[in-house]
């Protein structure tokens, strides 16, 4: 066996490169020393954030993935994915999901996430230009291509739902203008307008490594449980790239911390900021998991315990040796885990006419599930509220909030979250800057503003834009008789007033679902129309 094979001329064939050698050749081997431009001119953004890098070659992608292998495996993923999307479409898969409430969650996904993927694509393209080391440039380039792939596959997969359901036709406009979508949009734009090291710490580490498991593991498994072949397929296909992105996230943190001790406090500050921003953004996911999946895999609280407390805990225990501690205010996230989804869903319910999807109150069966999953909080604080609102609905007088909410200057959520120690009091924080007052939903968001006020005073807050009269379509005349500013603002945001939002039981999706499928639009309540066949 040990005899070396020789060819006819008696030569030994060249030895196959090991994975490590191959990676070295196809990354480090691609770099060159500039001769007629100064390095600091070519890579001009690498020093102003205060990060010190001494040896770019210390950066290694532990997957040791090179471009040739990248295309091969990505091609395979795409072929699998599009075969499934074809099957889904040919077999009317949109009618095989549990009920039409599930589709409402897909609207949030399409309108919010696709734009984020595209923003991420742009961000990583910038990194692949700005970084001096070849290893990280190649990794950033791959990730830029991945993110573009995610945006396109999500659009393709969800376009099929768009043919049947409302609220999905204007996703680029909604991404730019819709009030609750300004939350994810501002998150990414904050990262994109930071320096390259803050961007990669924000997105690759704080978001991808620490937080995205919550999006793609329990949520996508939930999509599978609810029969959504197409979303599961693009979700898991995207997530297969995500494992690589997460690895990049942890490698970049270790690289920055090992390069220079002076990097440690800067990185810690970014971890604190971006953990909190990412956590606030994920509030929408908490509501989607607990309220929008007709069949549920796990609660937000359980997911937070597994993916943040356990896995995040392991990660930060590992980073302790560099002098990195748990993100600031992480204790508050643990305190809030029994409250966040309920507070947000209640807010969506009250503001439902301004939403781009139908909203409903949890059924008896669902409230029982929540009592079981949230034994310390649900019955005490939230069940009585839902039961009261159910009574009002039964009387034909559903409760709604008709004003405009006060938004947090940093995360852009309405100030809907409660005090850390008192879930019966809404939390409000304020800062003064250059004589103006700014409002925040939490200490975490206030700290972020106070550290970079010049940046955050420029935040475009949709409610402020409405009050300023900026959120009107071209040609709108506020002086015209019968002018309805809310109608006008929603239209500007890409939401069809009276169609896209409101009570789910009155929603066109619910009625059409029953007409098309003969099954109830909400499996937990009675049918909303006469189209559901009586079977016994």
């Amino acid at each position: 066996m040990s005899a070396v094979m020789k060819d006819k001329a008696g030569r030994q064939p060249p030895k196959k490169l090991s994975l490590k050698q191959n990676y070295e050749m196809l990354t480090r081997g691609l770099g060159w020393e500039p001769s007629y431009q100064k390095k600091e001119d070519i890579y001009s953004k690498l020093t102003y954030e205060g990060i010190h890098i001494h040896d770019w070659s210390a950066w290694e992608d532990p997957f040791r993935l090179t471009m040739d292998a990248y295309w091969k495996y990505q091609g395979e993923k795409e072929r699998k994915l599009y075969a499934i999307i074809d099957a889904f479409q040919q077999n009317n898969g949109q009618f095989n999901v549990t009920d039409a409430r599930y589709v409402q969650a897909m609207k949030i996904f399409l309108n919010a996430i696709v734009g984020l993927e595209y923003a991420s694509h742009r961000g990583f393209n910038m990194l692949s230009r700005e970084f001096e080391g070849v290893g990280p440039r190649v990794a950033a380039q791959m990730q830029a291509i991945d993110e573009l792939r995610h945006a396109t596959t999500q659009i393709h997969a969800l376009s099929h739902y768009q043919k049947y359901f409302e609220g999905m036709s204007d996703f680029p406009q909604q991404f730019d203008r819709t009030w609750y979508i300004s939350i994810p949009k501002s998150f990414f734009e904050d990262a994109q307008t930071a320096g390259p090291f803050e961007f990669i710490t924000a997105i690759s580490f704080a978001f991808e490594y620490v937080l995205t498991n919550l999006v793609f593991m329990p949520w996508m498994s939930g999509a599978a449980y609810n029969g959504d072949m197409s979303t599961v397929s693009f979700g898991f296909s995207a997530q297969s790239d995500e494992a690589r992105h997460m690895t990049l996230g942890i490698e970049v943190i270790k690289f920055l911390l090992e390069q220079d001790e002076r990097n440690v406090p800067i990185v810690q500050k970014w971890i604190d900021k971006w953990f909190w921003r990412g956590y606030r953004m994920l509030a929408v996911l908490a509501a989607m998991m607990d309220y929008m999946l007709p069949k549920r895999v796990m609660s937000w609280k359980e997911a937070w315990e597994i993916y943040f407390e356990e896995n995040g805990g392991a990660l930060f225990a590992d980073l302790e040796r560099y002098g990195i501690r748990m993100p600031k205010y992480y204790e508050q996230t643990i305190h809030e885990k029994g409250h966040m989804s309920h507070q947000l869903w209640s807010t969506f319910y009250q503001l439902r006419k301004a939403g781009g999807f139908g909203v409903w109150l949890p059924s008896e069966e669902e409230m029982d599930w929540m009592s079981e999953k949230y034994p310390d909080t649900f019955d005490k604080y939230y069940r009585p509220r839902y039961e009261y609102w159910r009574e009002l609905e039964a009387k034909g007088e559903p409760f709604e909030f008709e004003g405009l909410p006060q938004l947090c200057q940093t995360c852009q959520w309405p100030c809907l979250f409660t005090e850390p120690e008192d879930p019966t009091q809404l939390c409000f924080r304020h800062s003064k800057y250059k004589g103006e007052r700014y409002n925040f939903c939490s200490d975490g968001c206030k700290d972020i503003f106070d550290d970079e006020p010049e940046k955050f005073v420029h935040a475009v807050l949709p409610v402020h834009q409405i009050l300023k009269g900026e959120y009107f379509r071209e040609g709108a005349d506020p002086r015209a008789e019968g002018f309805d500013p809310m109608f006008e603002a929603l239209s500007y945001m890409g939401i069809k007033p009276g169609v896209d939002g409101g009570l789910f039981s009155e929603h066109v999706d619910a009625k059409k679902w029953e007409e098309w499928t003969g099954r109830p639009a909400n499996i937990h309540e009675g049918p909303v129309s006469d189209a559901v066949r009586k079977t016994g």
């Binding site: 090991s18 532990p62 997957f63 495996y73 297969s240 995500e242 225990a317 590992d318």
Partner: protein
Amino acid sequence: MAEPARQPVFIAFQANGDTIPIVDAIEQDNPHAQIDESPGMVKITAPGKLVVKRETVEEMAGRAFDLQELQVNLISLSGSLDETEDEFTLEWKL
């Protein structure tokens, strides 16, 4: 911390035909691992360290296997990764 090396690592795959031999191989090579199945997904968690060995996957699958093929069905992982031709290792290196 009393047992710093025991922090959990995990790997998760899409639950499909391609990943049955991979999960079987992990189960054989990592007797301390816990396997959790949920809709569409299988997650394998182990204290400290988890190894995927090419040779065992090949044995289970009955064909040659390149560890980089894991990419196709991978959902997520945690821990520090090291990948060579023969082994894909997740570990907290304390």
